[in-house]
Amino acid sequence: MRHEVRFSGFGGQGIILAAVILGRAAVMYDNKYAVQTQVYGPEARGGASMSAVIIDDEPILYPKVATPDIYVIMSQEGFEKYGAAACGEAEMLLDNTLVHSRPACRYIEIPATREARETLGRDIVANIIMLGALVAATGVVSRTSIEKAILDSVPKGTESLNIKAMKRGFELAEVESNR
């Protein structure tokens, strides 16, 4: 089953890191195939940042995302540029602290930036909250795999903070999904 996941937000939120962690979880710990790509333009330095991950059980041939089935959107500009066209069977996780619009497809509101700031004391882990929520909501990789990939990727000394953020993401997605 091929999944195409598109992440967007603003430069500095760790959009690209979130995508790399997801791809790493799929390849290294779920034994799947993944390709991660990203927009490298100057607009990504502070403007709308975008990264995409394709995950498949089979080798991935065409490496570009055509029609994402999963969106993770963390800024209003990111929504407008990379999320607004989402429709049909797609599913979107959006950070409702920063995104005011709503898509035509199914969506889950995750207050990631507010939770990161108020519950965990660090804005910077909002991306990991979104990543946890993504995994809990879609099962695109397993929870143990995403945890290992996060631990591989975050700076030493921040492991417990990031794991708390991931688990908070699991909880927020579960609460939203049960509504």
Partner: protein, 366 residues
């Protein structure tokens, strides 16, 4: 121990270079190749190697040539504008028979063009960009795994033939991340040393002279001027010049069928895609989705020297479809060698051909 990584193409290239025994990087960072220099800077210092960021790409390739003459495996990495600056010294490396590896992560040109967007517009520049007659070896990876594997091959070919070898990748393959399996060890060839008492530029049957490493007892003269077998300038003898240039060409072209590297799918097909680099991934998708439809694919991992014998493997081919991220640079080379129709599918601007782009060409061609 063999290990699996989730790695970027550019980083995989640097890891391949290190595995092949590269211990010198000289260059100047440029998008979209910079991650290669970054990774080499981090890793070379821990492996006893040397990393130098030079003042520009001209000095970068010059430093690589100097390092190679000390017997060290050396490389540089760049993109279009830096590649243009390197052209004169690439000719010097060819004339002086200096083994080295030059990586070009191609972006949109001409000039500074599109720094962050993919292209394959330097395929003829790498073949013909320096002045005079010569031949080169150029490899084109189509996956992160091949960024590693073909970099290893590039070093081995450079050592064996005493030539600069080009890894002509593109931004898409350089920047994507995917699975990479790093083997425990790789086959690592070493240049044949000069036999004591032999003239330093006198070649035997294989047309490749032994290498007189600086600091190993040889007082050898190295010059870009036409030189005799002693290495001394002799720039006015028509015969000596002709013999030298013909040998430099023949040592590469004579080996093309034995060193060429490709994937051949459905050699009985009447309609055949020919690709290299990132567009290969779209072709692979099209063949996967149309399996059983009798479409052929020649995927070149080595574009130069151009092994025309590969084309004859497709005995029934009537139409060759050639998607490239340029205006048809290699399609013209293919036209020279086949009787059938050659359809160039150019794409500029940085986007990869989509499967739909190629389905449409396939339908129109049938």
């Amino acid at each position: 121990m063999t290990r699996t990584e989730f790695m970027q193409g550019n980083t995989a290239c640097a890891e391949g270079a290190l595995a092949a025994g590269c211990r010198f990087f000289g260059g100047y960072p440029i998008t979209p190749s910079t991650e290669i220099a970054e990774h080499m800077a981090l890793r070379l210092s821990k492996t006893g190697g040397v990393f130098i960021q030079m003042e520009d790409e001209i000095a970068g390739i010059a430093a690589v040539i100097g390092a190679s003459w000390t017997g060290t495996k050396a490389m540089t990495a760049t993109s279009g504008p830096g590649f243009s600056l390197m052209m004169e010294n690439i000719g010097y490396a060819i004339m002086t028979e200096t083994p080295c590896v030059i990586v070009n992560i191609q972006r949109g040109g001409p000039s500074t063009g599109q720094p962050t967007m993919s292209a394959q517009g330097d395929m003829l520049q790498c073949r013909f960009g320096s002045h005079g007659d010569y031949s080169v070896i150029a490899l084109c990876p189509a996956s992160v795994q091949e960024m590693f594997d073909l970099t290893v091959d590039a070093f081995n070919l450079a050592e064996r033939f005493r030539v600069p070898v080009f890894l002509m990748a593109d931004e898409i393959i350089g920047h994507m991340r995917e699975r990479l399996i790093i083997p425990d060890s790789v086959v690592s060839e070493q240049r044949i040393p000069l036999e004591p008492g032999t003239l330093p530029f006198k070649a035997g049957e294989d047309l490749v002279p032994g290498f007189p490493t600086f600091g190993k007892g040889y007082g050898v003269h190295v010059t870009g001027l036409t030189h005799d077998e002693r290495g001394y300038p002799c720039a006015t003898s028509p015969k000596l010049h002709e013999d030298l240039v013909k040998r430099l060409v023949a040592k590469v072209e004579g080996a093309r069928d034995s060193i060429t590297s490709c994937d051949i799918i459905n050699p009985e097909a009447e309609t055949v895609f020919i690709s290299y680099g990132a567009p290969s991934r779209t072709v692979q998708q099209v063949l996967h989705d149309h399996s059983g439809d009798g479409i052929g694919h020649l995927r070149l991992k080595m574009v130069w020297p151009f092994a025309e014998s590969l084309l004859a493997r497709f005995k029934n081919a009537q139409t060759f479809i050639v998607p490239e991220q340029n205006l048809g640079q290699i399609s013209r080379e293919i036209e020279r060698h086949v009787d059938g129709e050659v359809i160039s599918v150019p794409k500029l601007g940085g986007d990869l051909h989509t499967p739909d782009d190629l389905y449409k060409v396939l339908e129109d061609a049938r």
